[in-house]
Structure formats: structure tokens, C-alpha cells
Amino acid sequence: MTTSLDPTSTEQPVGPPAGLPKFGVGLLYNPALPGFLRAHLDTVDFLEVIPDTFWTDRGPAHSPRYCEIEESVKVLNWVAERRPIIAHSIGLSIGSADLFDPQHIDQIALWHRRYHFPWHSDHLSFVRVKGATGYGHEAGMAVPIPYDDDMLQIIAERTACVQATVPAPFLLENNVYFVELPEQQMTEAQFLNRLAAKTGCGLLLDVHNVYANARNHAFSASEFIDQLDLTRVVEVHIAGGSELAGMYTDSHAGPCPQPVWDLLRHVVASATHLRAITFEFHDSYFRFLGDQGILDQLRQARDIWSGA
């Protein structure tokens, strides 16, 4: 396997997260799932949740700032008594310039202490920009960051901040992107490898995002995966997608396409520290998938997991 660690760096690489429990195959929670979970909990090894969707953030000027949504928390508590829960947040906005919210990290840390999540992940992108008030407002989507040295430094410092506050290993997820920024100092794989080596963070490899990027920007998804330091991959996301305005998107629209299964098989065979495979779908596609459709996706993922 070739990796893309910077050969000129004098820094000692920090090892990958160690000693994590090996879970298997699970689902990312969405509001369509409570009925499925009550009927088929035995088919999932864990449930992954987006903590940010279980509370309303009223902003830093309010006290209390975070109001939990009780009907959602009730479902979470029910599952937490029966299965491990993994946390995957969307609100860190780790790539935002001049904006990083320690209160948000504290809130995540609070939930870690309550639910004992084995690790924590978020996205390698930014979702918020600094507004006139100093508090960020939403960018409306996960916007990709440039893979440059100064951005690597920013993300590394913030990763260290999360690692110091949240009592669990931290993973970052590779992003999907629809435009390519020219003149980047690193490839995406180089950036991910250097970030992991510099900070000791793990990788959440979204195989469907890799597939979407490869399809949209005409490169080989498996070659991209081979450029990654797969010993850093702790979790994998799989999903389906759909076309929008001429590009293939990570819309989580139903079942995984065949190339995603092929890539998953490739990753599972090589990622020695892989602990979990999570199937994601958007709740609006529940009617399309149905219980049986979800069970089929879980079964296929489990076949690949077991064959590793």
C-alpha cells in the first residue's frame, strides 16, 4: 500500500485510535426509524446518531442554549439501553475560518459523558461562516475546504481542541465535493493522511462520498482508497445517491449502488482497525426502502463484514 505522508516532515506521526470495540454493522438514525428499530433491533449491532438533531440550538446568547427534543431523546434512550450508540455530529464546522464554537464542543462532551459513545466523528468541511454578529450562520451545505498547508494547521489545532474536551477518540469524515479548487497544495488523500498522522485522529471513510467524487470528477475510487492510510479508518459509511443538476450527489437516496459494495469489500479487506460499517439513508426514502429494503442493505453489509 502506498501512503502519502509528507516525506519532508520531521514531526513524529501520532498513532491511530487504539483499543476501540469492534461493533459490526449498524444504521444512522433518522426520524423514520423508530418503528423499524422496535421491530428489528436484533439486526443492528449499533445505532449511530447525529447528536445535533436531538436538540435545538438557540444560539450563544440564550441560556440554556441547547433544548433537547424530548420525543427524539426518548427513542435514543430506549435504544441506548439495548445497543451501543455512536455519535456523528454535523455542527462542529471544523473548517470555518475565524469561527470555532467551544460551547458546541462542551455540549457534545456532555452527551459523551451521558451516553458513553465509543468515539466521535464530524465532517472535514465547513457548514457555517462568521456573520456580522460574530456568531456563524449556516452556509446551507457542507462546503469543502481547500487542501492547503494553512488549512491543515487550522484543522489540526481544532482537532486537538476536540480531543482535549470530548472524552473519546475523534474521527473526521471525507467530504463530497462538486467543484474542484485549482492549485491545492495537497490531494485529498494526502491531506487526510497528514491530518491523521499529525493529530492521531481516526478516519471515517464515507465510501459513497468517494464513489460520488470519483464519478463526478472522473478518477478511480479504488486508487483513491489505496492512497489512504487505511490503518486510520475506524468507521465506514455506505449509502445511495442521486443525480442533481448534472452531478451525482450524496443524497442518501435508498440502497447502495453496486460499486459502493465493491469498494466496501476492498476497504474491509485492508482496513485493519475498522470497527463499524454504517448504512445511511434519508428518512424521505423510507417508504421506498421499507423494512425489507433496510434489512437487505444490512445483510449485504454484514456478509462483507463477516467475509473480512
Binding site: T56, E70, E71, V129, A139, G140, V179
Partner: protein, 260 residues
């Protein structure tokens, strides 16, 4: 500063297909508004011509309308062809972008209500359906702890110290709610000649599931008065009945004064 300006410019472009078009025609006119390095400037000029920029713009709009559509589906259905122009006007006039369902849908509802009240938007059933969906959102996100329940043995309370149970909402309809909601939930436009009268619906989230029931207009009007802090004075026995039904609870921070 430069990275911040670059990210701001990217977000502005993603949020506005019109800005993208204008930048294609005259990049200098747009980019002089941002303090950018030469490389960042070249990056923005490059992406503006890429096919994926249309996808970014489409995704932005889809992501922004999702909280509104998810929380207010019936209102969105009734808006019909007005939905896109009204949401776009809302986005242009609201500085804060927020993808949280409860806050964003409430802000859009307030915007739409103001447009309805000034006559800028008209729609035979919009206002009552919007009020109904807003009440549903309120209850979905309401906190269940500490609701000021008064037990049968509570000592004394004045009417001024009572409020509607926080897990109950009253919605006034000007058309039969059963007929109206039946049409809309089946994605049928309601007929214009639905019989008009005053109807009240009680939304009750005190149990495990949200219960919706039509109630007597006199009781509805009375409970709506408590909800809006303008209830007419009631006889102690009537107050006691409402308290015992757990429809009225103690207001926050109030002290008992007059024996019921």
C-alpha cells in the same frame, strides 16, 4: 481575513445563482467586494464555470427548504406556485440562515403570517392551516418537565395565576377542520365553498402521542383566551373544572392568592 473572505464569497455564490451569473459576466465587479489573495481569486473564477456550481446552488436551496417543508407541509402545499417566490423573498429578507427545523419553520411562519395580514399573500385557508401546523411544531418541541400541574388538593389559585397547559394548543378554524385537513392531507386543493363558521381544535400532547380533537366553540374560545392571556373572568367552579381536567395549570412564578 483572506480565508474568511474566500469562504464568505463561496457561500454567497452557492446561495445565489444570480450572483453566479453576474460573476461570470464581470468577475472583477463581484470579487472586489472580498479581500482575497490572488490564488483565492483564481479559485473562485474557476469554480464559477464548473458544472458542479449549479449542483451546489440546487443543493443549497433544497437544504434550506427542507426544514420549512418538513415542518409546514400543508402550508407549503396550499402555497402552491407561491412557495418558491415566497421562500426566496424570505431568504433575501432574513439575514440568518438556520437549518434547524423548529426555529427556521417558526421564522418562516412569522414571515408568511405578516405577508398574509398585509394582504401581500392571499389564500382562503392558509392562515388557519399555518396556525394549525405552527401549534403542532410548538408541541413537538415543547419541554415536558415542570408543567406546573396543580393537584386536586392544591391550596388556592387566582385566575390570573393560571395558564393553558403548555402541552395543549387551541387553534381556531374558519372552516370545518375535518373537511379542510382531509382535503389537504390527500394533496387535494380544498373547495372554495367549504362551509364557513367558527371551529376550535384542541391539540393535546400530554400523553404519548399527539391527540387532535374538535371542541365546543365556547370552550375553545375560552381556552384560547387563556392561551392569549385575555380570558374573561370565570366563576370559581368553572375554573376548578378546567384545573381538574388539567387544561389549566399554574403560571410560572405565580403565588396562590384566592381560594377557588
Amino acid at each position: 481575513m483572506s480565508l474568511l473572505a474566500f469562504q464568505q464569497a463561496m457561500c454567497d455564490l452557492i446561495a445565489s445563482p444570480d450572483l453566479c451569473r453576474r460573476m461570470r459576466q464581470d468577475p472583477d465587479a463581484i470579487l472586489t467586494q472580498y479581500e482575497l489573495s490572488a490564488r483565492e481569486r483564481r479559485r473562485l473564477v474557476s469554480i464559477i464555470w464548473q458544472r458542479g456550481m449549479s449542483t451546489n446552488c440546487a443543493l443549497y436551496r433544497a437544504n434550506r427548504i427542507t426544514p420549512i417543508y418538513s415542518a409546514l407541509p400543508l402550508t407549503c402545499f396550499l402555497l402552491g406556485d407561491l412557495l418558491l417566490p415566497e421562500t426566496e423573498l424570505y431568504w433575501r429578507t432574513t439575514e440568518r440562515v438556520d437549518l434547524q427545523f423548529s426555529e427556521e419553520s417558526r421564522r418562516f411562519a412569522a414571515f408568511l403570517l405578516a405577508r398574509l395580514r398585509t394582504g401581500a399573500v392571499t389564500g382562503g385557508h392558509l392562515e388557519e392551516v399555518l396556525a394549525f401546523e405552527l401549534a403542532t411544531i410548538d408541541l413537538r418541541f415543547a419541554l415536558r418537565a415542570g408543567n406546573g400541574h396543580i393537584s386536586r388538593d392544591s391550596p388556592t389559585l387566582s385566575q390570573a395565576a393560571l395558564r393553558l397547559h403548555p402541552l395543549v394548543r387551541i387553534v381556531r378554524f374558519r372552516h370545518d377542520p375535518a373537511l379542510l385537513l382531509d382535503h389537504i392531507t390527500k394533496m387535494h386543493r380544498p373547495p372554495y365553498d367549504l362551509p364557513a363558521a367558527e371551529f376550535y381544535v384542541l391539540l393535546d400532547a400530554r400523553g404519548d402521542t399527539l391527540e387532535i380533537q374538535r371542541i365546543d366553540p365556547q370552550l375553545g374560545n375560552l381556552l384560547a383566551g387563556f392561551e392569549n392571556h385575555c380570558a374573561p373572568p370565570l366563576a370559581p367552579d368553572d375554573l376548578l373544572t378546567l384545573v381538574e381536567a388539567d387544561l389549566l395549570v399554574a403560571s410560572k412564578g405565580t403565588q396562590p392568592r384566592i381560594k377557588l
